[in-house]
């Protein structure tokens, strides 16, 4: 099987490792080989974080620049910082959220989206913080919203993971009310993604 590579990026603390692990568990449930490479410790304290997810047989842990099929970004500056990892025609699902580093001068949201749009990618700008807030009362699960949306717009990813396996993977990461709400958020974000697909096609 051809490898399928996902790059997860955002700001340390946004739930990037959880997102990587949920995708990893989904693959494991599906019986597909996967490798999820994280970085812990110092790099997590509000720093720029990258998680390499490689689906397919026994690749090395790091994806080469230009090898990524789908970028899942929880923040716009980080999406722009790592966009060169994407292949031509790759999906980029990005949270419509700019979280500037403290004391920094930075490009605006529109500048960033404009730059991303100028590239040969399938760009999906998602209000993931808002979706999470509507369901959970805080942006804490923007990662789940991004995943739900990505599954709707990227058929290859959906066929690999399946919505059912992702729901099961959520059961391994959350319990009680948090599980219920995250399942609901996954579904809502998925439906939003399907709607946007229908509009664009």
């Amino acid at each position: 099987m051809r490898n399928y590579n996902i790059l997860i990026t955002g700001v340390g603390g946004q739930g990037l490792l959880t997102l990587g692990s949920i995708i990893g568990v989904s693959c494991t449930i599906r019986g597909i080989d996967v490798s999820v490479a994280e970085v812990h410790g110092m790099s997590q304290r509000g720093g720029s974080v990258v998680v390499y997810v490689r689906i397919g047989q026994e690749p090395g842990p790091i994806t080469p620049v230009g090898g990524v099929d789908h970028v899942l970004a929880l923040e716009l500056l980080e999406a722009a910082r790592y966009i060169h990892y994407a292949k031509r025609g790759a999906h980029v699902t990005v949270n419509d959220f700019v979280w500037p580093p403290p004391l920094s001068v930075h490009p605006s949201r529109d500048q960033l989206i404009g730059e991303l749009r100028a590239r040969d990618i399938k760009l999906h700008v998602v209000e993931a913080n808002e979706m999470s807030e509507k369901v959970l009362g805080s942006p804490i699960s923007s990662n789940i919203a991004i995943l739900g949306y990505a599954l709707a717009v990227d058929k290859t990813l959906r066929d690999l993971l399946t919505l059912e396996a992702v729901e099961k993977a959520l059961e391994e990461h959350f319990k009680g009310r948090a599980l219920e709400l995250n399942k609901l958020l996954l579904k809502r974000a998925y439906e939003e993604g399907l709607k946007s697909e229908q509009c664009s096609s």
Partner: protein, 642 residues
């Protein structure tokens, strides 16, 4: 760790489970009958003993957070000399702390399997250097095993225990960040055994355990004999497609990249691919048989040329005419990437060096994308401490201060606006370095050290400050946790790794026994903290031996506990009409929750990010920052008590 239904380490044989490399190492050790595990937390090694401590009771094994790596090594080594299989895990620089006993342990050996896991950090993602600990094997005459993936780590650690038992010596197991912190599905081959040896006996063998010179000189030839026997081991080298003139030898993780690159080049069958899982000592026989047919060899390994140098030695002594390439083509610094390995392999094989993956054009904007180094979290107690401390130093009239620093989240205080970490070398270094600088400069010296780091290596240098009489103020930042590695308990928390209550040792008690006049400061109340810091600094200025403990819980733990207990913490907001746009809150806190939108002249506080520490409100000269919600009555308690 997140698996709530059933811990991944407890799943039965035959299960296929997604394991982090460190979890895979822990599970492998359990299957091997290991019963005693020790560590001091350090990225990227932490989760090994962390997950073992989570399942210790169910598996009837013992796990502890030791005070430092030397003590951890001593404890686990002792279990093995008494016949109990044991493991100690540490980050690469941790092994420096334990190096003394490591060297001696090779001479005395063990009675049962003893595995020393060293998790190296190429690219120094979370470390002060990127040393290659395979050298320790050559230095100590101990074997080093190295897996090529997280999955292989699970199998290889079991082999490590068997090797250790067979040769009766410690075995070094070298992982790296990309092994330890990569998740892969692992097929579980065995259950965790119910019956294992957890009680041992100590044989009073003076010639073996008492390394006085006469005994040491008797042990050394034995050690060399074992070393030679180890280099005749054959099982840790495999050759794919043997007999080719071009040979690529790869050790550990490098192997997975080499294979990927050869597949991308469609060249897998053109070369002999040798995979090494025991880089030290390099097994002679399988490599000699490779040399027989080889004309040219490329060695691909992460960091230093450990295999390359041994292989060159083998070429010279065996008399084969083979060219050995390595660090002339493969970078010696930073972790390997598919691109770096591609360029080396392509050049070696003699094909186009341009990588086959084509990335998109990087984003270039004006203003450019700003760098995003790690920063202190919102609500971090260190931010409040650093602010109050600097204001107090000014008030006490202490202008020329050298703030020496240490290892932990608080190291981030080197950044603006705090600049209260001016050195950072190793654990405990803040105090020893301050002592030396106090002796040779006229500056005031404030040594800043975290609670866990203080217990780890801060006590002897603090004692030295008093004994050798230097003008150093010791500041212990006590967030009641080993925060940076994920909130492990330590002697100041009153809890053990296995969640058992134990004697709580306050840094104040230790410091006062060492001869310091100790102040305790609570920076959640910023104004009071400034007053208390000022008093302490005035005493210091008068020449007294002063230590300060600044105590406030880690904000990440506070937020978690508040959520769990249903406590509403304050959330602050900027009153538009009162704010003059002076930016004091932005410039003096660098808090990630305070955001200035492009084009705006006034800051705003991102509600979802505010942790409610109140530092910005205490700083605002116009009282324009106020609480925006209705916090619970007893919210302060979450910040102050466990």
């Amino acid at each position: 760790m997140n698996y709530l239904r059933e811990h991944p380490l407890l799943r039965p044989r035959g299960s296929r489970v997604l394991l982090l490399g460190n979890e895979a190492i822990a599970r492998g050790a359990l299957e091997a009958g290991m019963c005693f595990a020790t560590a001091y937390p350090g990225t990227p090694s932490t989760e090994i003993v962390e997950v073992l401590s989570e399942v210790a009771r169910e598996c009837s094994v013992y796990a502890e957070w030791s005070v430092n790596e030397k003590v951890a090594f001593e404890a686990a080594y002792s279990a093995a000399i008494a016949g109990v299989r044991s493991l100690t895990a540490m980050k690469h620089v941790g092994l420096n702390v334990a190096a003394d006993i490591l060297m001696s342990s090779a001479y005395a050996g063990v009675e049962e399997g003893f595995v020393v896991v060293t998790a190296d950090d190429p690219s120094a993602h979370s470390s002060q250097n990127e040393q290659d600990n395979r050298w320790y094997g050559l230095l100590a005459h101990l074997p080093v095993l190295e897996p090529s993936s997280a999955r292989e780590a699970y199998k290889l650690v079991k082999e490590a225990f068997n090797l250790s038992t067979r040769y009766k010596i410690p075995v070094i197991f070298r992982s790296t960040t990309r092994i330890s912190h990569t998740r892969m599905p692992v097929e579980l081959e065995d259950d965790v055994p119910l019956n294992k040896k957890c009680k041992g006996t100590f044989t009073r063998d003076y010639e073996r355990w008492v390394l006085v010179p006469v005994h040491t000189r008797r042990r050394k030839p034995e050690l060399i004999k074992t070393w030679k026997a180890l280099s005749e081991e054959e099982r840790f080298v495999t050759a794919h497609n043997p007999g080719k003139e071009k040979v690529i030898v790869s050790s550990g993780l490098a192997h997975s990249y080499v294979r990927e690159v050869l597949e991308a080049l469609n060249m897998l069958d053109r070369v002999t691919l040798v995979k090494v899982n025991m880089p030290v000592p390099l097994p002679r026989k399988p490599l000699l048989s490779v040399l027989e047919h080889a004309k040219e060899i490329l060695v691909v390994e992460e960091l230093d040329p450990v295999v390359e140098m041994q292989l060159k030695d083998l070429v010279v002594t065996s008399g084969y005419r083979v060219a050995v390439r390595g660090k002339d083509l493969v970078p010696e610094n930073y972790e390997l990437t598919p691109e770096a390995v591609y360029r080396a392999v392509a050049k070696f094989i003699g094909v186009e060096e341009k990588v086959p993956w084509e990335g998109l054009e990087p984003v270039k904007l004006d203003p450019p994308i700003p760098p995003r180094p790690p920063v202190l979290c919102t609500g971090c107690p260190h931010r409040s401490t650093y602010y109050a401390l600097k204001v107090a130093a000014n008030r006490a009239g202490i202008r020329d201060v050298i703030y020496t620093g240490d290892i932990g989240c608080y190291t981030l205080g080197y950044q603006k606006p705090f600049e209260t970490q001016m050195t950072c070398f190793e654990m405990g270094g803040s105090i020893g370095v301050a002592h030396g600088l106090a002796k040779v400069t006229n500056s005031a010296l404030i040594a800043v050290i975290g609670d866990s780091t203080f217990f780890h290596a801060g006590i002897p240098p603090a004692l030295n400050v008093v004994y050798n009489n230097s003008s150093v103020l010791v500041l212990v930042l006590d967030n009641i946790s080993t925060a940076m590695t994920g909130h492990q308990p330590h002697p100041g928390t009153g809890v053990t790794a296995m969640s058992e209550p134990t004697t709580r040792i306050m840094p104040e008690t230790v410091l006062s026994a060492l001869g310091f006049k100790v102040y305790t400061v609570y920076p959640l109340d910023v104004k009071k903290a400034i007053e208390d810091f000022t008093k302490a600094l005035e005493d210091y200025k008068r020449g007294e031996k002063v230590a300060i403990v600044s105590r406030m819980r880690c904000a990440l733990e506070v937020l978690r506990d508040a959520r769990r207990r249903g406590v509403v913490l304050p959330i602050y907001t900027v009153l538009e009409e009162k704010c003059t746009g002076c930016m004091a809150c932005v410039k003096l806190t660098a808090c990630p929750a305070i955001i200035v939108e492009p084009g705006s002249k006034k800051p705003r506080i991102e509600r979802a990010l505010c942790a409610g520490c109140g530092l910005c409100a205490a700083i605002c000269p116009y009282k324009a920052i106020v609480i925006a919600n209705k916090p619970s009555e007893d919210w302060v308690k979450v910040w102050t008590s466990l």
